[in-house]
């Protein structure tokens, strides 16, 4: 180890260390620094400063060399990340390229990553729904994984807490399966979305089509202005980084807030090798990092450690943190660390047309993306032969149809005088998958990355439950579309590998029992009370709602608990 002298150790000692700077790491840093803790935030990638480091954010379409399209050489060199819907010329610089950080696919898994300050919070699709008791009670009710150690009431106030700061738009829809939050005004449904919403409401007692809830400042409150953020400009260029802070990202919101406290030290270019555990003290004492520029190994020390490296990498860090006490990974007395990982099933889509509302179109762009159909299957009772259910996106839009036929001046005229096509509607499924012991991540026995960290092996797949659920989604949406009078209804099912949903979760799950889980109800490692895991790795099950808002709420809650325990002298 380099530079082991007393002063240096003092310089490298903090009250808290946060591993990772994305969606949940940003919250950990904000909460801990806000409570007065000198906090070190470690990020393996480069720094990305709000506005300054968004190189494409103000570019016009014609300013892109290939008008947004990725060059074939880049596509062919990056088959995995190229499958991500947002990997285009305007945002490619925020994605990890395939060769840069290899991993081992025991089964095909499209691991989409953003290694930079802010992580994937720059790139997410910004859908934010609360989970309900139907989600937290799922494993206990349906007999899979283990029981969540918390219920909706435990986290509800923390949802409110993070929603107010992040800024979430939505309507109070009054649905038990999708609890209301602290909302900014919703982005409205358009004529066909509203028509479908009314139709579904009239025909089905438990099905709803609502305005999608999303992390956009539709109408900022003072707290958002205080963060230096402004109203969403509805540009829908979010993946480039938003100079207005119109949507929530760690870069625009939590990290600058934490920096403003004067308590945050941000250290990019720092790959975490492991968490240091002291056998004698019986607790974690710090974090070992490798500087990606100098390859130097440096130890940092702190009283508490928050692990927010993103689900898969959090598992990697914990598994690689071995000691006499924990030969199989930090806190892994149960042996379940790395197991029971799961994801979301986004592999089916619907499209159709609607021959009506020709007098209406839309103008501009909807940052929320349209409508959202909360899970309606197996919610109040088990009614199908598969477990759990799916939410669905729903949106309607009219495309401009430009006549591309012919050449010359008539073609020029056609291109200018475009016509609106009929209304098109689309939907995609967002299904819950079941965490299983056989779905795991582990360290590769031989292969290591450039910093001496073992490569992660990933092994998870769809199962019969997912297939049945997908079939049901297609059947139910087809029925709903048909009864609404939509035409040309097409269902499509793709054969994407897990991972492309970018909702991988689990591996260090929460639970009541240290014998079957890694974390307790406070996201605290059962056996190491000064280490907290609050990113996707902590999730006991996956729900079908988007997970980011829940990571934020769990993080704020855990940070509050951690600091109060520190004050009581328990940590």
């Amino acid at each position: 180890m380099a530079n082991l002298n007393i002063d240096s150790v003092k310089d490298r000692t903090f009250d808290a260390i946060v591993i990772g700077s994305g969606m949940s790491g940003g919250w950990a840093a904000k909460e801990l620094t806000g409570k007065g803790l000198k906090t070190l935030m470690l990020e393996r990638g480069r720094d990305v400063k709000h506005i300054k480091d968004y190189p494409t954010t103000n570019m016009y379409p014609w300013e892109f060399e290939h008008r947004g399209e990725m060059p074939m050489a880049v596509q062919e060199a990056n088959p995995i990340v190229n499958r991500c819907y947002a990997f285009h010329e305007d945002a490619a610089h925020f994605f990890v390229k395939d060769k840069e950080h290899p991993y081992v696919q025991d089964k095909p898994f499209d691991w989409i990553r953003g290694y930079q300050v802010g992580g994937k919070s720059l790139l997410w699709a910004r859908q934010t729904q609360r989970w309900s008791d139907f989600d937290f009670e799922g494993p206990a009710r349906d007999g899979f994984a283990v029981d969540w150690p918390i219920r909706y009431k435990d986290i509800a106030p923390w949802y409110s807490y993070v929603e107010k700061f992040a800024g979430i738009s939505g309507n109070k829809d009054g649905l038990a399966e999708l609890p209301d939050g602290e909302f900014l005004p919703a982005f409205p449904l358009n004529s066909v979305e509203q028509y479908f919403s009314k139709h579904v409401k009239s025909k089905y007692s438990n099905r709803h089509v609502i305005s999608a809830r999303c992390a956009h400042l539709s109408k900022p409150n003072q707290i958002h202005l205080d963060q230096g953020r402004a109203q969403c400009q509805e540009r829908i260029l979010c993946q480039r980084g938003c100079p207005f802070g119109g949507y929530f990202s760690a870069n625009s919101s939590t990290i600058p807030w934490a920096l403003k406290s004067g308590n945050l030290t941000l250290r990019p270019f720092s790959v975490v090798h492991s968490i240091i555990y002291d056998d004698k003290l019986g607790k974690a004492t710090g974090v070992r990092v490798v500087d990606t520029n100098t390859k130097e190994t440096i130890d940092y020390f702190a009283r508490i450690i928050f692990v927010n490296a993103a689900a898969m990498n959090t598992n990697l860090v914990l598994l690689n943190s071995t000691s006499h006490r924990f030969p199989n990974g930090l806190g892994n007395d149960s042996g379940v660390l790395g197991k029971y990982v799961a994801f979301h099933n986004y592999s089916a889509h619907m499209s159709a047309e609607y021959d009506g509302f020709k007098e209406w179109t839309t103008d501009g762009r909807n940052p929320a993306g349209g409508g959202y159909i909360p899970r309606f299957r197996n919610v109040f009772k088990q009614e199908t032969d598969f477990l759990r259910g799916y939410a669905s996106g729903f949106s309607a839009y009219r495309r401009r149809q430009r006549g591309w036929d012919g050449i010359g001046s008539s073609l020029k005229d056609n291109l200018v005088n475009d016509d609106l096509g009929p209304w098109s509607v689309g939907s995609h499924m967002m299904g819950e998958t079941i965490p299983k012991e056989a779905s795991y991540v582990a360290l590769d026995a031989k292969l290591k990355d450039d910093w001496g960290v073992p490569l992660l092996k990933i092994s998870m797949d769809y199962d019969d439950n997912d297939e049945k659920m997908k079939k049901d989604y297609i059947e139910q949406l087809t029925e709903m579309f048909t009864s609404a009078g939509f035409t040309n209804i097409q269902a499509s099912s793709d054969h994407r590998a897990p991972g492309l949903d970018i909702h991988e979760m689990g591996g260090a799950r929460m639970g009541h029992d240290p014998k079957t889980s890694v974390l307790n109800k406070w996201n605290q490692v059962h056996a190491v009370n000064n280490v907290f895991v609050t990113d996707g790795a902590c999730m006991t099950s996956t729900s079908c709602q988007n997970p980011s808002l829940t990571y934020m709420a769990l993080t704020a809650r855990a940070a509050d608990y951690a600091v109060s325990e520190m004050k009581k002298g328990n940590i």
């Binding site: 103000n58 016009y60 379409p61 014609w62 300013e63 060399e65 290939h66 008008r67 399209e69 990725m70 060059p71 074939m72 050489a73 982005f187 409205p188 449904l189 358009n190 004529s191 979305e193 509203q194 400009q233 509805e234 540009r235 829908i236 260029l237 020709k358 007098e359 209406w360 179109t361 839309t362 103008d363 501009g364 762009r365 909807n366 940052p367 430009r402 591309w404 036929d405 012919g406 050449i407 010359g408 001046s409 073609l411 020029k412 291109l415 200018v416 609106l420």
Partner: protein, 184 residues
């Protein structure tokens, strides 16, 4: 020459929309630097003449004014598969031969009407097994036309003068009467 290439490439980068005077090629090489397809000055001129036939200068700028042929070449060079690039080159040869056979002169030497007729008859031949127009030729024409139109409709000229692209402020009107003229 280097400076000229640099200026042209820059023009392409900032949108292929700068109004540069078209330059006369004295050397046999294309004026735009390409990595995968080997294009000489004659071929570049051919693409320029085709693009200009597709999007001619009228009372508004045409393909050459907007350097769309360079955009076509750039896209074929960077964003197409090897197979498509081979088809492009083969099809271009077939196209050149076909014109020579039909009119006993090059496409560039044809008059406007001949040029238009040549391109339109390829476009209007929907028979995939056509003996007049082999698959590669159609594929070549499809790429030239597709990227000419793509370059045109995404050019700064088109997106500022013909339609209005608004970067900011944006808006979302969920109910918007169709009759009003919209921005993009």
């Amino acid at each position: 020459m280097h400076r000229r290439i640099a200026i042209k490439n820059l023009a392409l980068i900032i949108g292929g929309a700068a109004l540069l005077p078209s330059c006369v090629h004295n050397s046999g090489k294309a004026s735009v630097k390409l990595k995968n397809v080997d294009i000489n000055a004659d071929q570049e001129k051919l693409i320029g003449d085709m693009a200009e036939t597709i999007i001619p200068k009228t009372n508004t700028p045409g393909a050459k004014d907007l350097q769309l042929h360079l955009f076509v070449l750039k896209m074929v060079d960077d964003c197409y598969t090897k197979k498509d690039q081979q088809d492009f080159m083969t099809g271009m040869g077939q196209f050149t031969d076909l014109v020579k056979k039909q009119y006993s002169r090059s496409f560039g030497e044809c008059d406007q009407k001949q040029r238009e007729q040549t391109l339109l008859s390829i476009e209007q031949d929907k028979d995939p097994k056509s003996t007049t127009y082999p698959a590669e030729l159609k594929s070549f024409y499809g790429m030239v036309k597709g990227q000419t139109v793509n370059g045109y409709t995404t050019s700064k000229y088109f997106m500022t003068k013909q339609v209005v692209y608004e970067l900011v402020p944006g808006r979302y009107n969920a109910f918007y009467p169709v009759r009003k003229k919209q921005a993009v």
